[in-house]
Symmetry: C2
Subunit: 249 residues, 2 copies
């Protein structure tokens, strides 16, 4: 099977690297940014082009959500499979007469950061069972965690990630504001944060909950509210309310 | 210096272990729970008692917040230093005629979990400089991160930890509700969560923010709100509002 990766950003780089490490040959990496493409090409020994798109059986489009439709139009071949790597777009966002699919790696990518590809979950959706099988088998060569997933399901995957990652990071930002205000180095909290995450490898987060809200420690809750204002106070109240609802306090 | 640890729970165990590993001798571990005390005593080779409190220069009270005052009354000696390990109580919560102090390790403890004590921050407060110096030096033998901290400052440390740990864990609980509802294994999100935490070792959380709110992706924000209800919807709105305020969107 001839495979081409389209894109030159973080996702394209890591997809190309994941394939290469598993000795799955790539016919080409195609994109607009010659500088990035040549770097990837040199590191991974894959041919690249900014002008001539190679004939292939499978094209994997690794570009940002808002570019997927436009980029998908450059594939004029009909008898082929085209997949995008977006978590939030339906496979119908691809615009062409080929067979459409979604090939979604659930991870945050940056070029400088090494990743264990075996641990990255892949979610796969295609128009028919044969294509589904092709993509599931391909993903299984890279990762231990591969799952079929409709567009509907991907919406919830994305939403879960927003809570478990984007919002978690924002809590770190607000926490750092508080520690900065008292000249306490934020890195003093990193061991505690690591433990918080380590715990959920072993027990359910609902069982792992600690802190004043779940203890219903009204004295501390009131004290903390006096120390906060604006958005941080809103977060404090909303989170505590949600904790107390979850534990029926 | 004769040191006695009072308590038989998670904090008492880990404090005793941290001292022992650094060859700092403990004169006794004292408490009510004979079964737990004898286990700790056997593992760490420290004498224990449930009845006779040993004479010491320093008593470290490792019991839960609501028991600190009561437990502190059993120390009738006057010429000694007594410290509690609570993050939220003032040193004046100790009730006796001895010199009072706070010796606060910023970590979440469970007996079954091994910890790198060198990385646990210690916050220390005493009534005078001499006691302060004794406790700072003692903490420095265990940990690389030792800091003086008034009760006022400890309030903010605790508050920071509530945001960075208690609330983070609750976000994991709410995230798991969402993934459970779609029969997506929550452990599929663990690599992404790990990356989210790894990132803040390298860049400021404010710089690491990703997701629909910071991109001001109104289409996704509206879509997500339709998928949520009750407390999770409240959290979604509050967090996004806070993100958009922080980045002035």
């Amino acid at each position: 099977m001839q495979i081409v990766i389209i894109g030159s950003g973080n996702v394209a780089y890591h997809m190309a690297k994941a394939f290469t490490l598993k000795s799955i040959p790539l016919a080409q990496i195609f994109g607009r940014n010659e500088k990035e493409l040549s770097k990837i090409s040199e590191e991974l020994h894959i041919p690249y082009s900014t002008g001539h798109l190679e004939e292939a059986d499978l094209y994997i489009i690794c570009v940002s959500d808002h570019s997927v439709e436009e980029v998908s139009k450059i594939i004029t071949k009909k008898n082929c499979l085209v997949a995008h790597t977006s978590g939030s777009l339906p496979k119908e966002a691809l615009s062409g007469e080929y067979r459409k699919a979604s090939f979604y790696p659930l991870q945050t990518f940056s070029k400088s950061k090494e990743l264990e590809y075996e641990k990255i979950p892949f979610f796969v959706e295609a128009e028919n069972e044969k294509d589904q099988k092709i993509l599931l088998e391909l993903a299984s060569q890279i990762s231990e965690k591969v799952m079929e997933s409709s567009h509907e399901k991907r919406k919830y995957i994305h939403l879960t990630a927003v809570f478990a990652c984007n919002f978690v990071n924002h809590l770190f930002s607000r926490a750092k504001e508080i520690s900065d205000s008292q000249e306490i180095p934020f890195d003093y909290f990193l061991p505690l944060i690591d433990e918080t995450v380590q715990k959920i490898y072993e027990i359910e987060p609902k069982q792992a909950q600690t802190g004043p809200a779940v203890r219903n420690d009204v004295r501390i809750l009131q004290l903390h509210e006096q120390l906060l204002k604006d958005e941080s106070l809103e977060i404090y109240k909303t989170m505590n309310h949600s904790i107390q609802k979850m534990y029926e306090l």
